[in-house]
Symmetry: none
Subunit: 416 residues, 2 copies
């Protein structure tokens, strides 16, 4: 089924936001067998919204539209749709009640501008928004079924999955199948070299890469005479991809590295404590971002200043004096001491120079020592990261969690 | 001058790439005084590329187009442009020589497909590509001047700056001016109510909102007969906006809340230490994300488990037993103790229930106690956040930094 994605918002035409909604919707629609012919962005202007809707109503069979459903005066989508259809806006009482209930639940006063969010084009089918106040809606415009969703990704995505796909998926003949793998530890160019020849060995398969520093996602997309054939080919190619990449593949789909590490810690009943200097709590916050973290994460120390390394972690001040806070010895002491003090199974220590200042000839910016300690002893990795501050912090946190994961794998899970 | 951005490529309509080119071009064009009415993406299909070019040639005065200039069979842009214009493709000898010289310099064999990159629509003006093999070109389509650039951002951006802007900038009358304010503490709907009537009081001014939880950006965009008039009107309206929003405006432009808090701490020579439970290090990592954080941030304790609250922070276990870890007493002890242990000027304590589990009737999910301690004593705020785990953590970190900021403001800066 031919379709288009329409995103409405002056913040997009002015380039203030990168249009991640369009990419996400295009990818999901493609994966579900739709053919996206066009994605288009227009500003918050009623005549231009009308014009693009009339055009798409002639050119495609299905339109997914995001944005312009909020409470403010620059949210004009419903007005434009009503004009295209030549119908009035009508207050939808069920949606209004949902908005009211939401504000009651939040304990906040509801303003009249929020009521406007329940004004929908007469005859529209309401699309339920569980996570926000603005309902979506579906109407027919010309030859196209057009669905309108809020622009907030967190609301838009579940509405697409739960309210839209089930209505349209049965009309689509799926002839492709995609598998997504999350990797950490190899740059995109090296991944490409490792996977050279896979596309030729598995006809109909395309290997795609998407970098989200410090990770790269590898996508295996197969096309075939029907979805079963495509799936079989995708899975065959994916087995080859996984064999070639080994441990660098840590998960699939929407997995996150910290989530996988946490899941493994919990399943092995291991606890972890962290002592972070240059990452300033980043690794801890990544682990504790996940529900259930308390089963494995005890916490630890953000030892940003040397006085905290000494005072709270008991690192020997004379060692810092002698070899510097960014050193193998201090990283090891941080990992061992935070483990001992908290009684955790695994201790992590990270100390380094995130930059932009603080580098020396001996230890340039990007020098990071990462140590992990268990009952079996400790190990330290010295890293030399060639990136700017934010990237050094991000990859240091990732590397720290990688060492925690390896330490957990190396420990025998305790009984019980 | 009204313009449009057109991006060509099936990798975009399939959602394999996020369209950062469109955002970058839209932002640059807007900053240079162009009005971007639309950005559109189509796949590598000659009839569809023709159709969108003909349409844009009727609707706008200027089109910047990226993509489809490469050497492979799915690079079809020049062919489509030639068809729209009814002219043949003609090999441009100067471009061909540039491509050849490039391959000689790289020491790589040149394939016949690369020669195709020098085939341009007859009569087109060549746009020089210093960093790649594909030349760009400029033609007139209908009412629009249309410029075609490669899709590789590294090549596209300098070509836009050096080859395109100088040709068109003089034709643009800049008649708008925008100011951006960053706010924390009021939801978008309340901001809208507080700013009701500002647009009417300042003709030509549009107030825009952009929510990035837990913040909302407020944009004041003014149009006038020239840029000076627009700027004066924007600044007048902005003064009114700031007066109405007060302290909820924490910064402008690209400021971040943690960055502003850190800057203020450094300017007052205040140090801070943090004791985080439910935020798991998030507030610490936000402060230490900024270069120079070591001038103010000592670090602290991620006291996720109660054993760490007791063991590392010295919180009285019997108090936790009696009133629970999520309590005013424990938050206060965390803030006071982390301050005392580290010797910081300001201590922050955050303890709460981020969810999804752990809530009770008395303390539902989203209950967070945030305490701040200074030499003048301590205060605790009890918050009831109605959101999911990630949002509870994010807004708790923000609220914590807000209390740190207020504590710093209330302390007299030490001499020296």
């Amino acid at each position: 089924m031919n379709c288009a994605v329409l995103c409405i918002g002056t913040e997009l035409t002015r380039g203030e936001l990168v249009n991640t909604n369009a990419a996400w919707l295009s990818e999901r629609l493609t994966a579900e067998g739709f053919t996206v012919l066009e994605t288009v962005v227009v500003d918050d202007d009623v005549p231009r919204i009308e014009r693009v809707l009339r055009r798409l109503g002639r050119e495609v069979s299905f339109v997914v539209c995001t944005g312009g459903l909020g409470p403010t005066t620059d949210d004009l989508t419903a007005i434009a749709v009503a004009k295209v259809l030549g119908v009035p806006l009508v207050r939808d009482e069920a949606s209004l009640e949902h908005i009211r209930a939401r504000f009651r639940r939040l304990g906040r006063p509801m303003s009249p501008t929020n009521e406007k969010q329940a004004d929908l084009p007469q005859g529209a089918t309401v699309l339920f928004n569980e996570l926000g106040s603005a309902p979506g809606f579906q109407v027919r415009i010309g030859e196209a079924e057009a669905c309108f969703l809020p622009g907030v990704p967190r609301e838009m995505k579940p509405m697409f999955e739960q309210e839209i796909l089930p209505r349209f998926a049965s009309r689509v003949q799926r002839t492709s199948y995609q598998l997504r793998y999350r990797t950490f530890g190899l740059p995109e160019s090296t991944l490409g070299e490792r996977l050279a020849g896979v596309e030729e060995a598995f006809p109909g398969v395309i290997i795609g890469y998407r970098a989200h520093f410090p990770e790269v996602e590898v996508k295996v997309l197969a096309s075939g005479k029907d979805q079963a054939a495509a799936r079989a080919q995708a899975e065959a190619a994916a087995a080859e991809v996984n064999a070639r990449l080994g441990d660098h593949v840590y998960g699939t789909g929407e997995d996150s590295f910290s989530g996988v590490v946490l899941r493994e810690l919990i399943s092995r009943k291991h606890t972890v404590a962290l002592a972070e200097s240059c990452t300033g709590g980043l690794a801890s916050s990544q682990l504790t971002a996940h529900a259930g973290a308390s089963a494995a994460v005890l916490g630890g120390v953000v030892a940003y200043a040397n006085s905290v390394k000494v005072g709270l972690l008991g690192v020997d001040a004379s060692v810092i004096e002698r070899v510097g806070a960014v050193s193998e010895e201090v990283a090891r002491a941080m990992a061992e001491n935070v483990r001992r003090i908290t009684g955790a199974d695994i201790g992590l220590g990270i100390t380094g120079i995130a930059g932009p200042d603080g580098g020396t000839a001996d230890k340039p910016v990007g020098t990071v020592f990462i140590a992990v300690a268990t009952a079996n002893g400790s190990r330290v990795e010295r890293c030399a990261f060639p990136w700017h501050r934010a990237f050094v912090q991000q990859i240091s946190a990732h590397m720290g969690l990688k060492l925690v994961r390896e330490a957990s794998q190396s420990l025998v899970a305790p009984a019980g």
